[in-house]
Symmetry: C2
Subunit: 415 residues, 2 copies
Amino acid sequence: MSFVAVPQGSDFPIENLPYGVFSTAANPTARIGVAIGEKILDLSALVSFYPENVRNALQATVLNDLMSLGCDAWAEVRRITKELLLEGSPLHKDAALQARALVAQSDAKMHLPANIGDYTDFYSSIHHATNVGVMFRGKENALMPNWKHLPVGYHGRASSVVVSGTPIRRPYGQTLPVDGADPAFGPCRLFDFELEMAFFVGGPPTELGQRVSVRDAAKRVFGFVLMNDWSARDIQKWEYVPLGPFTAKNLGTSISPWIVPVAALEPFLVDNFPQDPKPFPYLQHEQKFNFDIKLEVDIKPKDTGVATTVCRSNYRNLYWTALQQIAHHTVTGCNLKPGDLMASGTISGDASDSFGSMLELSWKGTKPVPLGGGESRKFLQDNDEVVIRGYCSADGLRIGFGSCVGVVLPATPFE
Amino acid sequence: MSFVAVPQGSDFPIENLPYGVFSTAANPTARIGVAIGEKILDLSALVSFYPENVRNALQATVLNDLMSLGCDAWAEVRRITKELLLEGSPLHKDAALQARALVAQSDAKMHLPANIGDYTDFYSSIHHATNVGVMFRGKENALMPNWKHLPVGYHGRASSVVVSGTPIRRPYGQTLPVDGADPAFGPCRLFDFELEMAFFVGGPPTELGQRVSVRDAAKRVFGFVLMNDWSARDIQKWEYVPLGPFTAKNLGTSISPWIVPVAALEPFLVDNFPQDPKPFPYLQHEQKFNFDIKLEVDIKPKDTGVATTVCRSNYRNLYWTALQQIAHHTVTGCNLKPGDLMASGTISGDASDSFGSMLELSWKGTKPVPLGGGESRKFLQDNDEVVIRGYCSADGLRIGFGSCVGVVLPATPFE
């Protein structure tokens, strides 16, 4: 039990200990912290408690160095952090040190937790891929022929990944309002969220040409965050052939600030999604690497101020595991760097209230989604706030991810 | 005229002054240099000649800081560098300083010139896009409907961009040898080069949500390099639907080590490619930003050692300019960072010996391409060396890019 108070229902009990990067008005230097209850434990103020080989990494302004040290170092840092937070610890007994090392989350500004070298977005939810396929190609050809053979994914834009709380501006762009007619240019009309989760890659950088086997891949997963992969659907539809989504996605991708370590998720391991046909051996693993993580999306229009939960999904809906994603990503020799970010793709369940995007919830804009306060939405409107939450919960233990929040700003007109 | 000898036909006269990052056996620290004749001028040894605001940037191990300073600083650094290299300069009169600051290119190891935050690959050659379209969709539907309305592009993998000379390993991956049958797993059979050029983005970072107008885009182009975007065609064909190329491309992308500044290319400005239909206003510019850059690709099999030029193309074949590429990339608000790399896509001309890939030169493997020494190729074989060269030449002035070289290593079997 921690001497730091953890309120009932908190996302951040001592069993969680997620990593983030924060600063305060009193100390504007970005530094590494661990969330506990409503506090942040400032690891930069406590480095002397940790072994020498991790001290530099804990004093950095981003988590990349800690990520690079690998899973043995992560386990050791986690063990020591937990001990420091227990009743009777040296920290518990030192009020002056506590005053320096414990910061109220409400006083902290959160930053991107890592320098993201490359950001990859997969497409690993079978319900999402099927929904989109049915909408655009019909039931018979819903899933592309490759979909069950490999975890389809693409390279996203790393520079435009931002931390929760950053407002996202509705973009201008090209669209094709009428098939076969001329394209139009103007503000995006079909602005959407995508409910995703993502993991940060850890371990030392790999060499170009070096594959990471599905057996070694677990060592490469530092931890998970929530993600909102904002999407301009009308722009996407016009631009994506044949090289994939581009400007429809690089307008901003939000992540939650706290990275939940895999170790904290172990009590919530569940069976991997059944795969038929069996994939190629380089994608086969027995190890469970699927998690029961409840996911929710709220929309809160500014006018009403009423938040409505429009989606209840679960990470376990993913067909492909993170281990398979890593093995496939590197099968042709792509090198990895600590701090790379790999996202799941939109996580939809099979129920119609579990779809992870407005595109699916409103079924391409044909079914308005009711909101509280007499509102409804087909897609996002200006000043709508979107809140993604995620948590694991069983037997009185709750491991949460906090939230990933963003508000849609009106488009900036062209001069 | 420079006091440093510039042999006839050199790529690097005093009118060029491209930037690179190098090290030597005697001094293994990576540092910034400028190519002149067969030498490198080590700017880190000469910082006292430059204004204070650029000195830190010139002492860095990559060019990102210099890139971030913007085009006025680039012009000033270029002016001073040129003066230092003229006969009668303080450097000319100081033999000891010359001994420290002039390094033989043959003694230097070249490095990646920048930390590449994000790498984007466009698809801007109309001949290439048409060729690929004819092969896969027939003459009637060769160009996708969006192609003439926007510079189609996609996000590539930044981590796997490597400097010329790095060997590239033939990958394993999934392919679909027979349409409708089961996929196969094994070494890539259709391994290819792509003749491209790319530019590095400069200027201070932009904010998310900020567009870079086509009028301001020229200030964002630091300089150009040659690129070989190695491609596993059989893997690409199976994986790319619907999100674009992924593992078929992230196995390695080679760039030439010397970044030729836009100022050095100005004598070779030519009319922009005629565009019909006229694009949307955000893509329109009067300013010439097309260049007469001759491009060649050699293949040299290890067995014969005979190099054959299989492609003679030209940068001027690009339909979309770099300014349009930047304006489109940022139209939805994508933020740029100095050191971002934006590539042209395969640069094919209209003649059949000007196609920039084996896919096109061998027309999907139906027409073997003859090589010297009795060899021929449909696609690349193991131990083939691919050499891309580029240069501008007119009225006795030659501005060259050096070369972008890579050899194909045999695939590493799976254990």
